[in-house]
């Protein structure tokens, strides 16, 4: 009952004219930018972050959330119609694109739209029910537990986004080190500023994000010289009743999987899509058709995608720890707006929290109204050639960086991060975990130092407390498992050189 009451309270805030408008703008702009080649949710959010500076807090966060799930949705549209997985919709390419090849684009888009709606709705109920309860649990967390949770998050994210624990952890640590630049809050000492005045407050989040995800991505796309042919087929949207009936069970399955995986550290839309797809492949009534353009292959993953992109707000808002790079960026946005996400946020900024939750459902409606009937207009975005698009994106990167502090110095920092991001991309170091390390770095240091202060310098505090002990146990298990896997593969490689058949290629895991 209390939940319904709270949700009603939230809708009161979400349904004001102003917030409705921000939600609509967020969804539209997010979808639009999400459709553009080479810009996934991370780049989209960081590109549009500066637009929210002059907007009131609740409106700004509603708009950013809209941008996020709008971009997520836009991604799946381009995946279905043109098999371009930008960043987060690799699974949608499989059956979605197969359906396009069969001339069923409209059905695939309708399925994705409706399933996303179902997934989003289920996830919001989960969010409303679970976030406050988890917030109570979070109040029991001490500094050692927070430090352990962050490190556990690093390990999970590293593994999920890069597929290689070592590479991912390295990138996380790199992010933590970059977060060290600036003034140390405990002693007031300036660290690694190289005497640049613009680095005293640390490196700007927008500079890091735009450099590593905007500029580096643009350059990478330019290297590939690929011009895409825009989609020009017919779109017939309305499904028949038997087709419609096939959407529902698969979408519900996807919603459940997505809601659950969205909450776990390192979880989020990409892994949820894979899990939902795998589940459908195993349990669906039409499992034989999956992979060749089946409705279930689209419905399950689309629902999981949207569900996970909403439930991944739960750890951020109730514990105050973002569980994946996109949420880390969101946390940055919260902090820029002067809100510290965490257990106290739900109580102190109740109108913000419930307004945001309710706005997600409103955004759901916007997405389905705007996107399903109007999808063919969205697709005209692809008619813009990349040679026109990339100078424009560069310009937005410049304006975005500049308007954070109205300082042109920041642009040189962005350019430097662009170079670093490009080097990392070329070294096959996926830069997404960097953002998580960068945002959590200062918090990790703070909690680490506080925990050691409490324990008088003894590291046993990290293993004797039940919560942190469990988390460190899991980390240790993970590392042992990775070591084991490496040596097992090593033996396989040795065998392969002797002329045995090569092993199956690993499933590609999408970056967030």
């Amino acid at each position: 009952m209390e939940m319904l009451h709270n949700l009603a309270f939230g809708f009161e805030h979400a349904l004001t004219m102003q917030n409705l408008m921000f939600c609509a703008i967020g969804c539209v702009v997010g979808t639009l930018v999400g459709l553009l080649p080479g810009l996934g949710p991370l780049a989209t959010i960081s590109l549009l972050l500066p637009l929210t500076y002059s907007i009131p807090t609740t409106g700004a966060l509603i708009m950013l959330a809209g941008i996020y799930y709008g971009a997520q949705y836009g991604d799946s549209v381009s995946a279905i119609t043109m098999k371009i997985p930008h960043a987060s919709s690799i699974v949608a390419c499989i059956d979605g694109y197969q359906m396009t090849l069969k001339g069923k684009t409209g059905l695939a888009l309708f399925t994705a739209g409706v399933s996303s709606f179902i997934g989003g709705t289920v996830a919001i109920v989960v969010l409303a029910a679970l976030a406050p309860a988890l917030g109570e649990v979070a109040l029991m967390f001490g500094p050692a537990d927070y430090a352990a949770l962050m490190m556990f998050g690093f390990v999970c994210v590293s593994f999920v986004t890069t597929g290689s624990l070592l590479d991912g952890l390295a990138v996380c640590m790199l992010g933590v080190l970059l977060g060290q630049i600036g003034t140390d809050i405990n002693s007031g000492v300036q660290r690694y500023t190289l005497n640049f005045a613009s680095l005293v407050d640390g490196v700007g989040l927008v500079s890091v994000a735009l450099g590593c995800f905007g500029i580096a991505e643009i350059t990478k796309n330019l290297d590939e010289h690929s011009e895409r042919t825009p989609f020009s087929g017919k779109i017939h949207l309305m499904p028949t009743w038997p087709e419609f009936k096939r959407i529902i069970p698969s979408a519900l399955r996807g919603s459940a999987v997505g809601s659950f995986l969205g909450i776990l550290p390192g979880g989020g839309p990409s892994i949820a899509q894979f899990a939902a797809y795998a589940l459908d492949k195993k349990f669906s009534k039409y499992r034989d058709e999956i992979g060749h353009g089946a409705i279930e292959g689209v419905a399950g993953q689309a629902a999981a995608d949207e569900a996970a992109s909403r439930t991944s707000f739960i750890p951020l808002m109730s514990i105050g720890i973002p569980e994946n790079p996109v949420m880390a960026l969101m946390m940055g946005a919260f902090i820029i707006k002067g809100i510290q996400p965490g257990p106290n946020m739900i109580k102190e900024h109740a109108e913000l929290f419930w307004g945001l939750v309710a706005s997600m459902w409103v955004g759901n409606c916007f997405l389905i109204i705007l996107n399903v009937p109007l999808v063919r207009y969205w697709l005209s975005v692809f008619k813009i050639p990349y040679n026109v698009l990339f100078p424009a994106i560069l310009f937005f990167c410049c304006v975005g960086t500049y308007s954070v502090n109205n300082s042109l110095d920041d642009m040189f920092i962005t350019a430097a991060f662009g170079l670093m991001g490009y080097i990392m991309l070329r070294l096959e170091l996926e830069p997404a975990p960097l953002l998580l390390g960068f945002i959590l770095g200062p918090m990790l240091e703070e909690n680490f130092r506080r925990a050691l202060l409490l324990s008088r310098g003894s590291f046993t505090i990290f293993v004797t407390r039940p919560i942190s002990g469990t988390l460190f146990g899991l980390i240790a298990l993970f590392i042992v498992w990775q070591l084991f896997a490496f040596f097992r593969d090593g033996r396989k490689r040795a065998a392969q050189r002797k002329g045995e058949p090569p092993p199956q290629p690993p499933i590609p895991v999408a970056p967030e």
Partner: protein, 140 residues
């Protein structure tokens, strides 16, 4: 030498050393009361260990050459720096013109007339940002 895995490890080692050696400039303190240098030293040690592991591992796995297009990244970064300098010393319209005309050198085809059109649209957007959203752009 052109082995991506090896270069990756060396890159990480270089970063770890830069931050790790830099941390000795700051007070270490001890674990009970950590100074500003302690945490970066710990983190860079972990990064160093990972870098060394990746270098060692690169000797046991197949070599992959690394691709690096110096021209494109140089053009893109050059156009950003040019935009900043142009906006700083003249005004942002000059910056936008430079950005468009220089960055498109990295594209697959080059057309001056197309660049004029792109620049015109971007300048119009910049005016909309300045007057509509209230961003403080030094346009003129």
């Amino acid at each position: 030498m052109n082995d991506r895995h090896l270069l990756k490890g060396l890159f990480l080692i270089a970063v770890a050393l830069a931050f790790g050696l830099g941390s000795f400039k700051y007070q270490m303190g001890h674990f009970e009361r950590a100074g500003p240098g302690l945490f970066p030293l710990l983190v860079s040690s972990v990064l160093l260990a990972i870098g060394v592991t990746i270098v060692l591992r690169s000797f046991f796995i197949d070599k992959v050459p690394m691709y690096f297009n110096l021209k494109n990244i140089a053009i893109i970064l050059g156009s950003l720096v040019g935009f900043a300098l142009g906006s700083l010393y003249i005004n942002m319209i000059v910056g936008i013109l430079f950005l468009v005309f220089f960055s498109t050198l990295a594209g697959t085809s080059y057309s001056a007339w197309r660049n004029v059109k792109i620049a015109a649209v971007l300048i119009a957007i910049a005016f909309a940002f300045k007057d509509g959203l209230g961003l403080q752009l030094p346009l003129y």
